[in-house]
């Protein structure tokens, strides 16, 4: 069987990978089982809960609904790519500071959806935060602290930008 398996190339968080796996294997399972990147979680397995959210070529997707062949040549971003050199991403820090993470199962997906939202819209209003995270379910926090975490991260990064802009003058 392995002779007939396609070779699939893509990058995850900037690192190149090549795998030989069945074309219909889910991107989620390839990340977790073949690449051992277990930060991405499986919740419902049917695109309803957002636990497995990753970015593929800059678009937020549910990795449980992506047959890996469709990731051929893609640039994938997962939660493992958020922290840099041991330093938490501002969103991760905000989730920690604001109590946005409890049991942790939804957290990687929430972080990826929030990353996607802030990449498109650095200063979202509360309704935009809710829409950006509407596909991500949390059974612990009641969502409010998650929304506050995203708002706090957005505020912080706009403060940093303002400071930089002032400094640049």
């Amino acid at each position: 069987m392995s002779d007939s398996l396609p070779e699939i190339h893509f990058t995850v968080n900037g690192d190149r990978y090549a795998v030989r796996v069945p074309a219909m294997k889910r991107l989620l399972d390839v990340l977790r089982e073949d690449l051992r990147l277990t930060g991405t979680k499986e919740g419902c397995g049917e695109g309803e809960c957002g636990s497995c959210s990753v970015r593929m070529n800059g678009e937020l997707v549910n990795s449980c609904l992506v047959p890996v062949l469709q990731a051929q040549g893609a640039q994938i971003e997962t939660v493992e790519g958020l922290a840099r050199n041991g330093e938490l991403h501002p969103l991760q820090q905000a989730f920690l500071d604001c109590g946005g993470a409890q049991c942790g199962i939804c957290t990687p997906g929430m972080l990826m959806a929030a990353t996607h939202l802030l990449a498109r819209n650095p200063n979202p209003c509360p309704a935009e935060i809710r829409e950006g995270l509407a596909g991500n379910l949390c059974r612990c926090t009641g969502f409010t602290r998650i929304f506050e975490s995203v708002a706090a991260a957005a505020r912080k990064s706009s403060e940093v930008h303002t400071k930089r802009a002032v400094h640049a003058r």
């Binding site: 069945p22 889910r26 957002g50 678009e59 047959p67």
Partner: protein
């Protein structure tokens, strides 16, 4: 994950002509898969029947939105995210842009395609009432050539349509002649996001001197497939917006609708809410258009 990835072949020829050639070689053997928001759910549940799948993802000839003086040509592979992001389309076809915003959430909208939504043929399909209200046509393609069919004639039964075994949906054509029409679209679901419609109604109408001269009514989940409500339309066209018209239209809808009981709702609820939505639209027609 109950499905077995090794039980299904998936190929990605990469361009439209290669996909069509494959489908012509073995008609009916290949199931097209675009963003996977329907078929991958079945796959995970272990109930994907298709043994051979051909990927449409990433085929540029299917993923486009073009506007002309006549209207919009929307590639079947355009995602609902593409539709929402297209400012001109969102301004001129507001019902379609609103329907696009109802598809799941952002991650689903980035993968789900308009062609997939129509070919899948769910009675509850979010984009269908808007496309029926806008009198859209669908363009189908095979190695034999292309043909256009009124979207209102595309579905022929529950999850059945006019596509031949070697055909793909290429594009959806929406005419640009509804600027003066009053437009309506409302979906009733369990919650605001990630909910499949219990019932939805889309409509466009022209009103002059208090009389409805033209009307299109289209419903999701009131029949085995998304469909126009022709009998209800007939009770309204040529009539003034008056209590008797609303009453007759409600009765026509109650008689014409053929909803079912399922996990999301009951036939009786769907029928009554469908009539309420129609009444809401007709009462809106009796008021001045909002700027």
């Amino acid at each position: 994950m109950r499905g077995n990835p090794e039980a299904h072949a998936l190929v990605a020829p990469g361009d439209l002509s290669a996909v069509l050639a494959l489908m012509a070689e073995e008609p009916g053997e290949w199931t097209p898969i675009a963003g996977g928001t329907e078929l991958m759910v079945a796959h995970a549940a272990g109930r994907l029947n298709a043994k051979k799948l051909v990927s449409l993802w990433g085929i540029a000839d299917l993923r486009f939105i073009e506007s002309s003086a006549d209207g919009f040509a929307i590639g079947a592979g355009a995602t609902f995210g593409d539709l929402r992001a297209h400012a001109e389309l969102a301004a001129e076809l507001p019902l379609l842009a609103r329907a696009a915003s109802w598809i799941g959430a952002i991650a689903n909208q980035n993968r789900a395609t308009i062609g997939g939504n129509l070919v899948n043929g769910s009675p509850a399909a979010d984009s269908s009432p808007a496309l029926l209200a806008y009198d859209a046509q669908v363009e189908l393609i095979s190695v034999r050539g292309t043909r256009r069919v009124a979207y209102s004639e595309f579905h022929t039964g529950y999850k059945r349509n006019v596509l031949a075994a070697d055909e793909l949906m290429l594009a959806i054509h929406v005419p640009r002649r509804f600027a003066r029409h009053r437009q309506y679209l409302r979906k009733v679901g369990t919650r605001r996001a990630m909910a499949i419609a219990k019932v939805a109604l889309g409509a466009t109408a022209l009103v002059g001197d208090g009389v409805v001269s033209e009307i299109r009514l289209a419903a999701a989940s009131l029949a085995p497939f998304p469909a126009r409500l022709y009998q209800s339309e007939a009770t309204i066209v040529g009539r003034p917006i008056a209590e008797e018209t609303v009453h007759a239209a409600r009765n026509a809808l109650l008689a014409e609708a053929k909803p079912i009981d399922d996990i999301r709702s009951t036939a009786e609820y769907r029928r009554r809410v469908g009539a309420n939505l129609l009444e809401e639209f007709l009462l809106e027609l009796g008021t001045e258009p909002r700027p």
